[in-house]
Point group: C2
């Protein structure tokens, strides 16, 4: 992914800028400046802003798959894996406080822009959703696995949005604890 080619540097810079500033609010000049290339050179690599967005989403999909693979490698226990997801809001709290969740804020922005890439961005959510569903199914909650997966996703989005607004780490810690308790209760049920 990060092989250092100009194209890849563009994707990396755009990824970060789309996250920190928003897609609409990020200009080619912003990205060009970050990569230290001219705006003209830009169009050799990407014909339009839409194409950069596509590449960024592909990058994020790949990053998400890597993250999931790392969680799977770290523990065979589905509950551990779900906890790893829950704990993202702590792991990434610094960024979340300033910019929200990268997935949630992008899908929300694209929805308002009525952007064609909205479905592709939603695919990142779906990646998490399906994987969480599989973990709940492995825990023996097949019937409610998808509902539980969505519940965990909703938790992370809610915490991210309010963490961004209030920057209250105690709040994040409490909500994470709540989810851990809920998960423990689910296992013994």
């Amino acid at each position: 992914m990060t092989d250092g080619t100009t194209r890849d540097q563009i994707v990396q810079a755009a990824d970060r800028l789309f996250y920190t500033q928003g897609y609409e609010n990020t200009s080619f000049a912003d990205i060009a400046e970050a990569v230290r290339i001219s705006r003209g050179n830009f169009y050799y690599h990407f014909k339009s802003k839409h194409r950069i967005l596509d590449a960024v989403i592909d990058e994020r999909l790949a990053d998400t798959r890597d993250m999931i693979a790392a969680w799977e490698a770290a523990s065979p226990d589905p509950a551990d894996r779900i906890r790893a997801y829950i704990d993202i809001v702590i792991t990434n709290r610094a960024d979340i406080e300033r910019f929200g969740c990268p997935v949630g804020t992008l899908t929300t922005e694209l929805a308002k822009l009525n952007h064609a890439a909205q479905q592709e961005a939603n695919a990142i959510f779906t990646l998490f959703r399906d994987w969480l569903r599989d973990q709940f199914a492995a825990l023996g909650h097949g019937a409610d696995a998808d509902a539980h997966a969505m519940h965990v996703l909703a938790f992370s989005q809610g915490v991210a949005t309010l963490s961004n607004a209030f920057r209250d780490r105690d709040f994040v810690g409490r909500e994470v604890q709540r989810m851990h308790d809920w998960l423990d209760a689910l296992k013994t049920a």
Copy 2:
């Protein structure tokens, strides 16, 4: 609020457009077209886009206070009032599916824009937060009242974000039920 003056029509139109299209993505031309006035006339009423945003936020603060007053008038039972808040995600589901939560999406966008009005937008959240806290306190949960208030806010934001991404009404219904159950358990605790 809606006295029909041009200024007020501008605020109304901007309010809706900022919600449906986003603040950054809404131009003066968009608003002028919606109100059917010229762009020039615009600047008689508002000197800058920032000022319109301020007016929109003030409008939303007033609307929020009205909504809260209506809930208070509808029932003296704090649990009923909290349920009224929880049920927003059903009441407004059509808009939420398309545009997300008006409060959450605005604060998130302003955070990324590093916009000066971010704190004012957060005040809408605070209005709900403080009111919910008072309801939980009235239920006898003074010590955890603010934490519970934040929990309910997080619920609504999480549901709104995922409702926007997946447009799954069954999911919304399930999450609302979960919150009602949680609230009932809290009352008997």
